[in-house]
Amino acid sequence: MAILRVDGLNAAYRKNRVLNDVTFSVEPGTLTGIVGPNGAGKSTLLKVMLDLHPKLSGDVSFFGSPHGKVKTRIGYVPQRGSVDWDFPTNALDVVMMGLYGQIGWFKWPKRSDKENALASLDQMGMADYADRQISQLSGGQQQRVFLARALVQNADLYFMDEPLAGVDAATEKAIMMTLKQLKEMGKTVMVVHHDLQTVEDYFDHVLLLNRTVVAHGPTDNIFTKDNVYRAYGGALRFMKEA
């Protein structure tokens, strides 16, 4: 049974239609790369699925239910640039935020919650930075903190918006190892990804997106030159003309 089903999704930013009749479904235990040119609507797709941006029409269901009923089973790693890292807090505190749903609203975190968060930081190789101000972390370290925050949520389905953007090789490796571990644990992960070179190594499924689904399925069958050209073709042609 599909863990995520998206049917006829349309969305727009003011005058521009960004998503056009997007339809696909994702099987549990898969690691999918969402790939497409700039402005293809990759981030928007995540935001619309997670009710962070309004949709014009279409249906999205997780585990057979609408988003509102299964929020706690879904983890989201936003783009690193979407928050203000000057906010006065430390790495451990940010990871703790992933537990707020489980702790319950208006309750104070317990010692066990703190230990839980520390373990998650440790898993991302960031245990030594628990008390570090988030403004004093490097880009890669900030990304790891975001990932630790998602891990501690213990969700079944994860959405990550460009977790590999602007990180160094060590962080990229650490993050990919974590994603593969998540997959082995039976979790489902969807990742917005930019680097075409690494798609085949990193993901077992690919969703080629350019405002609509160009192709979707197992990487071996779908990530062909032909399909990639169809997804990026418009942009390439535009570049030649210019």
Partner: protein, 305 residues
Amino acid sequence: MTLLLSPNTQWVLLSTLILGMAAGMIGCLAYWKRQSLMSDALSHAALPGVVIAFALYGSKNLPLMILGAAISALAGAFFIGWIRSSSRIKEDTAMGMVLSVFFGLGIMLLTIVNRSAGGNQSGLDGFIFGQAASMVRSDVYTMLALGIIVMLVVFIAFKEWKLYLFDPDFAKGLGLSGRWMNAVYTFVLVLVIVIGIQAVGVILMAALLIIPSVSARYWTNSFKWMIVLSAVLGGGAGVIGTMLSAAGKGWPTGPFIVAASSAMFAVSLLFGAEKGLVVKAVQLRMQKKQLAESWTQHAAIEEAQ
């Protein structure tokens, strides 16, 4: 000094203390919501409501004027949101528009009411620059009750505020409604403004929200301590400003509170433990010194070889 010992003055001091603390705490929320200017727009927008409430009731009645101020400020908040979402006008421009239009309207109404019978004894002018001394015991009770409610809202939902201010999208994913948090935020912001305008006045109320939180930022890297410190600085400024203004007859409270608060800011800017200019300069100097020492050591080793 005997003035300070009178029971009424003590009550007034207590109320500006609580007001300063509540404003300091809410100011931190506004600071991280990047909406410090919003508090200025809303406090100016409160003036027409105060004057209309007075005109309708016929004499000064604080709860009623607070209600008027709240309605008027909320209308201002609504217009700012509406202008921003339904036109291409940006939020700062919308705030500027609402601030000036509402304040202009307020002054216009105030002039009319003051010219009419009974108006000139109303003490309505006190709402512009603040007149803490004009508060009576029941006014103080109202302020205390509302101020404590505001502080409780910050305290009880501390963890939720932190999450909402740092990463609203993630908060929404966990089921914390951004719309609700924003509504509560606007509510407590307006509450602080309306209880403050009698003591500090509509023009300077924003200073009490903005200055303590910015000063606190220079001392700490923890959101919790920033709120605590901002409350302490705000409360301190409230008390000191009120005491200073009590030294002369008819001196407005607002400007003195702002002066006290600004002095604290100047100290924070220079000597703040985390971001203060002096501390930064000392750190830079020490780094340079260390570097120079390591160079001399290297040179000595090379020479020895």
